[in-house]
């Protein structure tokens, strides 16, 4: 049931309308500008006959008295085959098509269908006539890139329905009927499109499981020291320039996962352009296909309307949940969740709600928690496992983690990858602080060995700090060597050069192999005659390990470098000087 209203207030991107009849919270409305342009909005508060709406466009030109068309539908997405490889704005408008239709600029009031109506899909039925199905059960499938995209019974189906009619194998468009379901004399026609409201979690499955399998990012410091799990959650807080975006970009390239959803939320357009322009040309080594064939980009950058930025993270997460429902392992990356929180704050301010810390609304923390709760690994109704992993960057004001968004996020995530100024200034990339960060999960290397190695970092830091007070001369040679070992571990293992073709991605096997070699050095009992000799030895080892890191796996060069390392370790200086 739609109804109409009239604008009574315009202030920034908030508009208040007076309406007759019934109005639903979070329903979509359209403000009609006097030149006929319709601006999409969402109802976010209802007081008596007044509805407050956030407008997803510039409100310039709206007048008091302009009419508002209030629909009954919540802000929803179109779900179905054909989403992969698309570039959408926060409201699921395909941006390249927008450019073709309306030109260079995002003129308000233009909305396009998210999915291509004309594409043919090779459909194979899975269910048969007479079968009984409940919500989200497989009726058939189409091939989307390399994936089996299962076409499911409606997610909102209640109880058991009989498959009355099932389409035969063949070419279909997404709006074609592929099945008819029946219950108590009622029938529903099913095609390949489903709609789902973005603010409600989408999950129809047997049970939710504990995340136990690592999601390999091919970044050594993450996979070895601070692992992330399939279906787990993690956050990357850090001051500007510390490397949050680059870390997400390299993860989106190298992570061992079926599908990546990149949500560029309120940050630079240029960064998403990089992904947009490069992914169609970059190969995914796992499949041999291009990266864009496993990626969906949601793009609501900082100069695009703020309200749409707020909803864009929900758009991204809903797409992630949908493909989990299809059966894939999905990684959703949001950069930056702080911009989303700021959008909440702007709207809350316009609504004149009582502000909390740093003027963020009081419900900030619960909103963050609900967002990350939408991730997880599940067992679907057909017994397959599928997951949605969520990684969000946080951009704390002044780089200080003691602020509401970082703190609210740390309470709910499984892994904390804290980036530090100090490490990025010293070009120690990825600038994840190994002493601040933590993970609640265990990764690809035996936990005992990892904590043994990690301990070197802690001791190295203590010794380094002590050296600042007592000087190198007041430090024992044993302590000095421990410090050099910790620096060595940092230099050749924690740091990784994302611009080197080989070093950029370090697969599991290589990590395990390198870790053992590094352990050999850490365990090695050196006896140096003096500190310059010790320093010299570690210069050599570091250089040789770096060269090893840059050599292709199992190449002659790698073997040659390894030989050099062994001979350095076996040299007289290393054993007993």
């Amino acid at each position: 049931m739609s109804t109409t209203g009239r604008i009574v207030t315009v202030y920034g991107n908030m508009v208040t309308a007076e309406f007759e009849g019934a109005v639903r919270q979070n329903a979509v409305a359209y403000c009609q500008r006097s030149d006929g342009v319709r601006l999409m909005s969402e109802i976010i508060r209802i007081r008596g006959k007044l509805a407050d709406m956030q407008v997803f466009e510039l409100t310039r030109g709206l007048k008091v008295g302009d009419s508002v068309e209030i629909t009954d539908e919540l802000l929803s997405l179109e779900l179905g085959p054909g989403l992969i490889g698309m570039v959408y704005d926060g409201l699921q408008n395909p941006l390249p098509e927008m450019a073709e239709k309306i030109g260079k600029f995002l003129k308000p009031g233009n909305y396009l269908k998210a999915l291509d109506r004309n594409r043919d899909w090779e459909f194979t039925p899975v269910a048969s006539e007479g079968d009984v199905v409940t919500a989200a059960e497989n009726l058939g499938k189409v091939k989307e890139n390399i994936f089996d995209h299962f076409i499911m019974s409606p997610f909102t189906l209640d109880g058991e329905w009989k498959v009355k009619k099932m389409a035969k194998a063949g070419k279909y468009k997404i709006e074609n009927e592929i099945a008819v379901l029946e219950k108590d004399g009622k029938t529903v026609s099913v095609n390949m499109i489903q709609r789902w409201p973005v603010r409600l979690p989408l999950g129809v499955y047997r049970e939710r499981l504990l995340p136990t399998q690592p999601m390999v990012t091919k970044q050594r410091i993450i996979d070895t020291f601070f692992p992330v799990m399939l279906g787990g959650t993690y956050c990357i807080p850090g001051p500007f320039g510390a490397g949050k975006t680059v870390l997400q970009q390299i993860t989106s390239r190298h992570a061992e996962i079926d599908l990546v959803i990149v949500a560029a939320c309120g940050e630079r357009a240029g960064e998403v352009v990089e992904t947009l322009r490069e992914f169609p040309h970059l190969k995914d080594p796992r499949t041999g296909k291009t990266l864009i064939e496993r990626t969906i980009i949601i793009c609501n950058t900082s100069s695009m309307p703020v309200a749409a930025r707020e909803s864009s993270v929900y758009t991204a997460i809903t797409l992630g949940e949908y493909y989990r429902q299809v059966g894939l392992n999905v990684l959703m990356l949001a950069d930056s969740t702080s911009r989303w929180a700021q959008a909440l704050r702007e709207m809350s301010g316009r609504l004149e709600e009582i502000p909390g810390e740093e003027a963020f609304p009081a419900y900030l923390e619960s909103s963050i928690a609900r967002f990350y709760e939408r991730g997880g690994i599940v067992e679907l109704k057909d017994g397959r496992k599928a997951s949605l992993t969520i990684g969000g960057t946080v951009s704390p004001a002044g780089g200080n983690f003691e602020e509401p968004v970082t703190q609210g996020t740390l309470k709910v995530v499984g892994t904390f990858l804290g980036l530090s100024y100090a490490r990025s200034y010293a070009r120690r990339f990825p600038a994840i602080d190994p002493l601040e960060s933590w993970s609640k999960y265990s990764g690809i290397i035996d936990g005992k060995k990892v904590s043994w190695a990690h301990n070197f970092l802690r001791r190295g830091k203590t010794i380094y700090e002590m050296m600042q007070v007592v000087g190198e001369e007041g430090t024992s040679i044993d302590d000095f060597v421990t410090y050099l070992k910790s620096e060595f571990l940092d230099n050749v293992y924690l740091q990784q050069n994302s611009f080197d073709e080989v070093d950029a991605a370090c697969p599991t096997e290589r990590q395990q192999y390198l870790f053992e070699m590094v352990l050999d050095v850490l365990k090695h009992e050196f006896t140096f005659k003096d500190k310059p000799q010790a320093r010299d030895m570690f210069f050599s080892l570091t250089e040789q390990f770096r060269d090893w890191n840059y050599s292709p796996w199992q190449s002659d060069k790698m073997k040659e470098n390894e030989k050099k390392i062994r001979s350095t370790l076996n040299s007289r200086e290393a054993a007993h000087a």
Binding site: K63, G266, G270, S303, N400
Partner: protein, 432 residues
């Protein structure tokens, strides 16, 4: 046709409210009184109450002054006649020449569709090694100079402007001292660039609200030239004044401040201006360089902090040099892989060593014994500062790289530099 209103209800700060109907959000109005007249913009409509932000400020405005609405938001005349002209921050001629009225275009329109942007890919040479080698400037980049008052940021800005070889220079001055305006003007004239320059000058003596218009008009003009395929360089100084003007308005409008009095939307406000930097497929581009003075040399102050999150890096001006640690060009990797094989390695290697030199200096200051290694680092640091960091260094990229190798070889053995051995083999200067 035009309807006049002659009763203003409230006047506070730069905002006046009155009752009026059929008024659009962000529509322009003219307020006229015995004090003169001024443009104003609608910033809130509630029922028949309309809040107007008066560009000239409300000083002398009377409740009986005349108000009329113009039926559209802010526009500005765009044509090649703009070259060489100087306007006020609010777009009025400031050079005593005629007002331009042709081809009016909307100021502050919608954002560019990200899908049509190109990745910035052309280096802008500046002949400043701290930029060219370590933090390369790229066409289409948005980059501020972070500086405490008193540093030579205006000199740096004008040096880059003249070196950059842009087709069009658009200059937006906000809260400028008159002397600064004259300085820029003279620099551009002497450099022979005035005929491709358009200036929008808001001085410290001008009304605050005009300061808010300055970047919008400047960037709108820049955008039009870029659409025509021109390579435009926009200079904005000082964005901290712009942010302070925002703060003033938001307090008048009784918005709840988020951080040190600045409004919660400071990030979005700054971003919508900086994000005008762009490279179009057809070849036009906007490169945006700004000055952000940091109150109290505090990078965590809301203005530099929010700016840093928006821009593609920053040049951090400190003690008369571009500081290698606080400075960053996020787009450097778009170009520095294509210059020469050793560019990236020199960039990382020299800075890592310089950072170690700084640590050693701290140790020395605390009176610790210096090892041989420490002494090497100290000597290296001195050479690096005098020959590379100093502003007087005025050499092209390749000469600067050669200089860096030479300095490294003067003080270190190849393996001490952390630079991969294949590059050292190739570029390490041979001793004779």
């Amino acid at each position: 046709m035009r309807k006049y209103y002659s009763k203003i209800d409230n006047i506070a700060g730069n905002v006046a409210t009155l009752k009026a109907d059929n008024v659009g959000y962000e529509e322009l109005a003219v307020v006229e009184g015995s004090w003169g007249k001024s443009l104003a913009q609608v910033i809130r409509i509630s029922g028949d109450n309309v809040a107007l932000q008066i560009f000239a400020g409300t000083r002398g405005v009377s409740t009986g002054d005349k108000v009329s609405f113009l039926g559209s938001s802010m526009r500005f005349s765009f044509s090649d006649d703009l070259f060489g002209r100087v306007f006020s921050g609010g777009g009025e001629p400031r050079d005593g020449r005629t007002e331009l009225t042709d081809n009016l275009i909307e100021v502050g329109g919608p954002a560019v569709n990200p899908a049509i942007r190109l990745m910035p890919h052309r280096m802008i040479p500046t002949n400043i090694p701290m930029i060219d080698v370590f933090n390369t400037l790229v066409e289409g980049q948005k980059l501020p100079i972070f500086s405490i008052p008193g540093e030579p940021y205006n000199e740096l800005l004008s040096r880059i402007a003249l070196q950059a070889e842009a087709d069009v220079i658009v200059f937006g001055g906000m809260g400028l001292k008159y002397d600064e305006y004259l300085y820029f003007r003279r620099q551009l004239e002497e450099g022979g660039a005035m005929s491709r320059t358009i200036m929008f000058i808001h001085t410290a003596a001008d009304p605050v609200v005009e300061c808010l218009q300055t970047p919008d008009i400047a960037l709108t003009v820049a955008e039009q030239f870029a659409i025509q395929g021109k390579r435009v360089l926009v200079l904005l100084t000082d964005m901290t004044n712009f942010a302070n003007a925002l703060k003033e308005i938001s307090i008048t409008m009784e918005q709840i401040p988020s951080n040190r009095g600045y409004p919660g939307d400071l990030y979005s406000q700054l971003a919508s201006r900086y994000e005008k930097a762009v490279v179009f497929e057809e070849g036009g581009s906007i490169t945006l360089m700004a000055v952000t003075t940091m109150p109290g040399d505090d990078v965590t102050h809301p203005v530099p902090d929010n700016t840093g999150y928006i821009t593609e890096g920053q040049f951090y001006l400190k003690n008369g040099v571009i500081d290698p640690f606080g400075s960053l060009s996020r787009l450097k990797q778009q170009v520095n892989g294509k210059t020469r094989d050793d560019h990236r390695a020199i960039m990382d290697g020299c800075i890592q060593l310089y950072s170690k030199c700084r640590e050693t200096r701290e140790k020395r200051a605390m009176g610790f014994e210096m090892s041989d290694w420490d002494n090497k680092l100290l000597k290296y640091g001195e050479s690096f500062e005098n020959e590379i960091m100093d502003f007087s260094a005025n050499v092209g990229l390749y000469d600067a790289l050669a200089k860096c190798w030479e300095i490294l070889a003067r003080h270190f053995e190849p393996r001490e530099t952390g630079i991969r051995s294949s590059l050292c083999d190739q570029f390490w200067p041979k001793r004779d």
